[in-house]
């Protein structure tokens, strides 16, 4: 009986382990931030880059000018910086502005297409980490119907 309890405990422990490790990986502070500057700081991005008027044309954002339904807005991001490590996506006026952070390695191109939620008309802001440098670009999307529920 004791042995079984011990083994059962061991199995439970083993089953819970990956979850804890994964929970630690997820950047809770950044993703739960309600301000874009805070969210950026959570990713070690200098918030100044987001308010900067210098937008990089080497970061391509393809998104609609107007979105009928903010629940599904298809967006495409591409970085022309050869040493791109990561692409972070923010929607400035969402309740939690950080949408996603993509990290590329081993031949993955700095390119991604996905569908995001937008609560209201807002800038989509993208920050590219290339080597140790950060660059950003933005595109405004007019949202006709709230998509954050």
């Amino acid at each position: 009986m004791r042995r079984r309890d011990f083994l059962l405990g061991l199995v439970t422990f083993a089953a819970m382990l990956p979850l804890k490790v994964l929970a630690a990986l997820w950047n809770k502070a950044a993703f739960e931030s309600v301000q874009i500057t805070e969210a950026a700081r959570g990713l070690n991005i200098n918030a100044e880059i987001l308010s900067s008027k210098i937008l990089s044309t080497d970061i391509q954002i393809i998104a609609p000018d107007r979105a009928e339904n903010g629940a599904i807005v298809q967006v495409e991001f591409k970085s022309n910086y050869a040493n791109t490590v990561a692409i972070a996506i923010f929607v400035e006026k969402n309740p939690t502005p950080l949408i996603a952070n993509f990290v590329f390695s081993n031949g993955a191109e700095p390119f991604v297409v996905t569908r995001i939620k937008m609560a209201e008309t807002s800038d989509i802001k993208v920050v590219v980490k290339a080597g140790n440098q950060y660059f950003s670009n933005a595109k405004n999307v007019e949202v006709l119907e709230n998509g954050c529920g």
Partner: protein
């Protein structure tokens, strides 16, 4: 709820890169939506997604609640060949996980 473990995947060789398209099945609840009885629906969303090429990590993504329901993703890998294996795995905030493989085909 639909079977979350199922992913639709396609990996096609297009010149010097492979384009991978993935459609996942997940509610992606923000935690701010109210149901018909005015009760908040708890947050339930994918937090981590990884993709590997023949077992080697090529993409690691962290997601918040701002990715749309039934997440869609396209990414590209240089240096991948026909019949190479691409694996996508996600983990959500409830501890659920799904993983699926696809072999690269000619696009």
């Amino acid at each position: 709820m639909a079977d979350m473990s199922n992913m639709k995947m396609r990996a096609q060789l297009k010149g010097d890169y492979v384009e991978v398209k993935v459609l996942m099945s997940h509610p992606m609840e923000t935690g701010r939506r109210k149901d018909d009885f005015d009760k908040l629906v708890p947050a339930h969303f994918v937090q981590l997604l990884t993709a590997t090429l023949n077992g080697k990590t090529v993409l690691e993504a962290q997601w918040g609640t701002g990715i749309s329901k039934n997440p869609y993703l396209t990414f590209r890998i240089k240096g991948a060949k026909l019949a190479d294996i691409i694996t996508v795995t996600w983990h959500d905030n409830h501890g659920a996980t799904a993983t699926q493989d696809i072999a690269v085909t000619q696009g």
